[in-house]
Amino acid sequence: MFQPDFEAMSRTDLEALQLERLSNTLDRVYERVASYRAKFDEAGVHPSMVRSLADLASLPFTVKDDLRAAYPYGMFAAPMRDIVRVHSSSGTTGQVTVVGYTRGDIDRWGDLMARTLASAGATADDIVQISYGYGLFTGGLGVHYGSERLGAATIPISGGNTKRQIQVMKDFGVTVLAATPSYALLLAETALEMGIDPRDLPLKAGVFGAEPWSENMRTQLEEALGILAIDIYGLSEVLGPGVAAECECKHGLHVNEDHFIIEIIDPATLQPVPDGEMGEVVFTTITKEGIPVIRYRTRDISRIVPGSCSCGRTFRRMQRVSGRTDDMLIIRGVNVFPSQIEQVLTGIPGVAPHYQVVLKKRGSLDHVEVHVEVGPDFAFDEIKALEHLQRRVGAEIASALAISIEVKLVEPKSIQRSEGKAKRVLDLRSEGSE
């Protein structure tokens, strides 16, 4: 543990600390951010009315559109004189959002990411290769400052140039890899193509996040790279990476509750759900100065894992995110997460976990094609085996998703590999009927 005084503090002390920090944050945004003040006034609430953590549920939500409307600096709660860093979301789903960090924010972010790396077993003795993109995306620099805070030797290689990444990993004796899980898989594949078995390298742990991934993919990454692979979580609107991370127990991600209050709500009724039930994750930041968010709806789907963890951390755990409400596809009225498809594929021998979902219209109906790569070691002579594989994939996906789909087997390595977040869905439904 990097900061046991906080990470293992008693729940009573933690809740007292949360309430104090929450009150300060509410005062700060009410005084300094016009849109919060207007929203609170409209809802008839005032920071002074929040006397317990339960009172948080009486406050209005913040959504991504609020941040978009405030573009670029409208929701900053610190003057630009105090802002030392600006990051921005990728803007793939609309107008980009901008977030700002004070010197204190950057300092705390370093601590939180150092906690994350430490929970993968990293120490000052380690050599950390950061293959997240650097730049406006929070991934690269977020992990970077944490790695330096931990005292590890930090390699800021950023994303891309995959063969060089392998060479660096080998030559520099990298022990910890930080990347998106899909990129980590590409690194493993590329290493083998170059005649390097990653399991022979000193690499021992990976911190993977920024996109949803499955338990089966973890097994695959751990076997291919010979490492402990943990899931890390964060989003730029709340901080960036460092909001929550798995420990070595790999059973849920400990939320850094001394800096963020997590709620799980029913996205339809907007009411909090009991611990253990699935819903949309909502975060309130309680130490951010640059751009605090109050009850920010993440669109991520998860739940609180009930019970305590054997690692000694007292922070509650959220289950690995099973999808975003943004990524959620509504196909013939059924909610589908692409990660469910990946979960199925990684459980079927003979197929690679690379896939693409192609949505089309046939008449007025949605038609779903799932393109699945046949594994490179398949006995390609066996047409019966190929047809059996195709039927099995179709049946298992249909049973997991509760919709019928068409499976198309495609040649090994023919689906485009991603160097960042994988693009799994091609939605052609607006392009007319076939």
Binding site: P376, A379, D381, I383, L386, L409, K413
Partner: protein, 143 residues
């Protein structure tokens, strides 16, 4: 045993041409080629020189391929020639998954390629029935 190269192909135009070009550029000569197709994909089976090298070349060019053991038989060029061969396999309880044939310009027999579950027993059943089993060296340059 004859080593046949089997290649998985999506039903995409030009893909078979790409496959044959890759082999041609690698200087690999083909002796026989058979395409089995379904509505969704095809499997190309070929007998060629240096099949293991061909496999490496194909995989390096992004094809899904594997080497399969098959049996080659010299079938007498007369009515009932093929029936004799199949009967001797059938009486041994051996099931033929697929077969294709081609004519060697040098010989007076057709060459039939058989894929069976158990190539070793098939071979001995054929030999004991007096049927000529063709060795790899007679068909292609082995590697």
């Amino acid at each position: 045993m004859i080593e046949q190269v089997s290649v998985f192909l999506e039903n995409k135009s030009g893909r078979l041409a790409e496959l044959t070009r890759v082999l041609g550029d690698a200087g690999i000569n083909m002796r026989a080629l058979m395409v089995a197709d379904t509505a969704e994909f095809g499997v190309v089976r070929l007998i060629c020189d240096r099949p293991r090298h061909a496999l490496q070349v194909l995989e390096a060019s992004g094809f899904g391929a594997s080497v399969t053991e098959v049996i080659a038989v010299a079938v007498p060029d007369r009515p009932g020639g093929l029936a004799d061969v199949l009967e001797s396999l059938g009486s041994g309880g051996l099931n033929v998954e697929y077969a294709y044939c081609f004519v060697e310009p040098s010989g007076d027999a057709a060459v039939d390629i058989f894929r069976v579950d158990d190539p070793a027993s098939a071979k001995s059943a054929l030999v004991s029935a007096g049927i000529v089993v063709v060795e790899p060296g007679a068909l292609y340059v082995a590697d």
